[in-house]
Symmetry: D2
């Protein structure tokens, strides 16, 4: 038997390495011997590796959006193309997108905080992401379990969203509330020539709900446009369907809204995208940012994977190939359920800089 | 030291079991000593376990949809509520949904086959799921790699979709093709009072593309409605945006379409849902089937997971709680990239029964 | 056209619901208008839904383990079966398992804290989970990116672990350090009749590293057994392989260790399992707990899914079917990369109760 | 209002593209108008995109392994380092690894076929991957459902593995079968000086089971080494644990096996790795191939993702950075449950070339 190990093995295993750059961050986690300091724990994430580092980078990137947002904007900047007064004088226009389930969850309160304090500029959500916020003003959503039997729940009229439970009565209450508004909208269409779009309808619903718990109440108050091109795809669609029998004729146009959202991107000085979840909302914000040859900043939080070629799971680098994110941007994707990380992100970004962000703003 | 093992351990490990039912399927995979018989390999999947079994069950469930579809429908059935002649006299109305990426991929050819031969009744896709089919009639999509650099691709004008590459010239060609159609649509709106909806626009685009490779050409020929409520969320939206400057005024109404898709579900004798991917398309088909208190059959193919509470990743059992699938249905979810399994599913279902399914049908 | 919506649709959509129990938690997230209070943010997670709730439940469950752990144990309890003095007089024996990558990451510091302060009783990790801790005492691991080119890295002698980078020189230093220890171990085997097992070897390596940054130094100091049945599957295996040429004959027996770990479970008053990641470490801890007919408490943190039938991705309920978790336990699975949540978990559990947990303990 | 679209938007959307190479494959799926030809369907996968393309590439890569395997090997090649006669005279040494659940599933039959016909050279599996094969020779595994209640199953003594069910009596039968073999092994250790290792024990169990349904019977017959360093981590461990009370002293050494598996890699002319699943088995095969400075060919099939930094989910490119796969190799990862794709892979590779692969081989 040989008395020394095969040289090929020795050389492969003990291959010498080149030096890494001096300033490369070393991996080191939080030392709890220093006590329980959650701020310090979260600060340590950037050198913790894996998704902890991604969360740390996401916090950095959003703080950069905020820093740019606070930079003064020259009067003339963006003037030429300005379509209306809508475009905010902001150093960085922040697009926030989220899927319906996050409004059903307690992430809604984090989102409402951002909207209440005008910390974001443009919102995109799905139909459920609109109506569930309004419905929560009418009745509660509860904590259940992922494994509850669908059949037993249906027999009891309880709807499940992951580990959340929504009594079906909530939707009955929603019908009572929304149908008179639909009547009124149709009347305005017919008498005043109002051309309704999803964003205009959401603005109106936000006004009507008149409840400070609501994301869309604050979007209305703060004149933050909310886009939801498939606004019929949910309970609102059910109501519009029923309404189309009783009182037909309401039209919701999606062409005007595509121009409106694109303008938000085109005429911005800089843009940042914060997108929680995938599907329509992710694509819609990214596509609007193609109109300016790419967002300057981007943070994605979702659980999707790229292997199936879905836009939902695509890494930000795919969006760079399309011109939806600038080629020199440093986009960040955090692979996580947003419920786990978004409140922490808000805590370390917008809420931390609340004073500066809300200085001089008035929500009248 | 003890000379016998702890009794708690012995009892826990060697706990006797109750008998399982006699007819419970035994796990057994394909024996390649019988030669390479791919039909037999796929037949063995149902007793192979894990997602192989799910694929086997999905094939069974779709074959059940097909069997029911072929059952004769009484003249009077569904008459009362019939809104128009649109509802097909089919024993089982099949809703097919798929995300944009599948049209970009070669799954498009499987979908086109189903539509060409009137094997499905209602289609839901996203904007990309419409336009990429049309664009493929104008220029090719290529096989690349997931890891190609976004920046380098953007500099060369090449867009990446997972491991697919789409030259940006394809979208330029699409603009050349679609803008005159938009002009014409606006003219018809203004002169003939046409009220455009996404489904009507897709029908028109299918007519105009006039190419037998196209899914929507065949949807047009076979009068299969295609719904895409957020039709502005993609290249079509870009074109509508540009068009809104040159030739403003085109309106796309989504309310009429929600009534139209819901009617497809309400007035059907039975329904089956085949949904590839998540997001809007999954929710939209399921929501329409809530209008009939649940689909009778459902097959989902996607890579989503339930843990983040997304509708995309929800198990079919969640849809049962909402009344979107009947409480006594046997829905199947296959956890897989649809590109891997959908061609095999078509091979073992629709294509296998092509003779029966196309008997007496004429595509004029 | 009908003037009222189909009754089937109305009834399905507006189905009345039964009442939910009064004490069912309502979904409500943190309100940042109350300021940035991270403790309060984390407290709000249990009513935030989805994985935020799972994290909240995991924290509760671990705090219950700690509470039980602190309960006094009668002198006689577990006496009959007691194999040795090894079994700690603890009200709840806590098994901690983690995969190699977590030691490479900054989660190592959280783990070291638990071991340093004798907060856990039994550890299971993979070979990498042992050696990377030791290697980190010799040289640094760095933060890189997931997308760095493997070929370029290899040419430079830099190894990638996700977004971490480990210079190959680290392994050369490890060889220099470990080979004399292997020589000594072989000498002791041959002269003193030592029968080495993975757990004994890890104990020895922990002694030799003599570094307070090391998890296994503290495991040695605190006499916490560490199991790693496949200890040859990594750099240690490479070194044992090389050593087998130079100085052959070292034996590592895995049978003695299986008895040792099983005894830890069998003779415990109660047990709790905290398992970060999947594969061997998850199965090994669960299997040991089968020996007592199930753990009393269990928290899993991983990104695996059940659909492929892997033990890694199995929900805790699968382990109940095997008797690895008690049928009346309330196990929790958090679907997340452990780097994101484990430091937060430690902050809200062990570190929060550090005073009580370390009272009367001495690490001499 | 402006009468032309913003130029930034026009230029970003209509950016011209560079030409792609002429020979770049065009995306095109199977056309079912050509009939149901499953061979042709699978052939079309390479140009279908996403994981269908990955499956196509995996089939190509394994066929390349087979082609190289069939190349004649010079007498002298590898002579110098040859440790024993074990190293097969094969142009490409194929390492096959798989997790326990695949043996529980019907993928076992595909694996057994490969081993029966000496189509692979080295096997690595987990403890469950060994014992479940033997147990299946004693009693059946059944098809159940993922959602069955763990508590109810435990009360009935039925164990769940994903959607498979294994009556606990199967393990009682296994005990009856294996304990006398353990007695005999201990006797041989004590009387003949046999130094048992996991691979030697598996060889013996394969001999004893003496059943042509068994993977390890054929591994025994064909002298294919099977490595499972943590062989105590499962039912075999339970039995060894019980046995250690009744009849103590059996030793299983893992050091000898690490040398044996590494030799398989070092002395091979070329190597190919086919790894189904993650965890120990993936790392163990890759680590052995580091000893030759990288495998020449690699196909991974699993559902893991890279974002958590686990070795299980790492892309093959990570293994290149470590020298576990050669820098000029073309490794393929298929993101799928192996039950869905491995039988198809075998059908298009080993089984298709069975004649050539088995020519001149004799299984006596």
């Amino acid at each position: 038997m040989a008395d020394h190990a095969p040289s090929v093995a020795m050389e492969a295993v003990l291959k010498p390495s080149c030096d890494l750059p001096e300033d490369m961050p070393k991996i080191r986690g939080y030392d709890f011997n220093q006590g329980v300091d959650l701020q310090a724990v979260l600060k340590s994430y950037i050198t913790t590796g894996f998704q902890a580092s991604s969360l740390g980078l996401a916090i950095q990137e959003i703080n950069l959006m905020i820093e740019k947002r606070l930079e003064p904007v020259e009067e003339d900047e963006g003037k030429e193309w300005k379509e209306s007064d809508e475009q905010r004088k902001s150093g960085c226009t922040i697009f926030l997108g989220y899927t319906s389930n996050l409004i059903s969850s307690g992430v809604r309160e984090s989102i409402r905080y951002l909207v209440e304090h005008k910390m974001v500029d443009v919102i995109v959500s799905t139909a459920g992401g609109i109506e569930e916020d309004l419905i929560k003003c009418l009745a509660h959503t509860y904590l259940g379990e992922f494994s509850l039997s669908g059949k037993e729940l249906r027999l009891r009229g309880i709807n499940r969203i992951g580990n959340l439970l929504v009594p079906n009565d909530n939707y009955c209450k929603f019908e009572d509330w929304v149908v008179p508004i639909l009547d009124q909208m149709l009347l305005e269409q017919n008498t005043e020539g109002t051309r309704w779009t999803p964003s205009k309808m959401i603005h109106r619903l936000g006004k009507e709900i008149n409840n400070t718990d609501s994301v869309y109440y604050w979007a209305y108050k703060n004149n933050i446009p909310v886009f939801s091109p498939a606004l019929t795809d949910g309970s609102l669609g059910d109501m519009l369907y029923f309404h189309s029998f009783k009182n037909p004729g309401l039209v919701l146009d999606i062409v005007e809204d595509i121009r409106r959202i694109n303008s938000q991107a085109v005429f911005a000085k800089r843009t940042g995208m914060i997108i929680l979840g995938g599907g329509l909302i992710k694509h819609h914000i990214c596509n609007a940012n193609l109109m300016r040859n790419g967002a300057d900043h981007a943070v994605f939080v979702n659980t999707g994977q790229e292997f199936d070629g879905s836009d939902s799971g695509a890494r930000p680098d795919e969006a760079i190939s399309w011109g939806k994110i600038k080629t020199d941007a440093k986009p960040v994707k955090v692979y996580a359920d947003a419920s786990l990380v978004f409140p922490l992100i808000v805590a370390q970004t917008f809420a931390l800089h609340a004073d500066k962000l809300t200085a001089g703003k008035k929500t009248d």
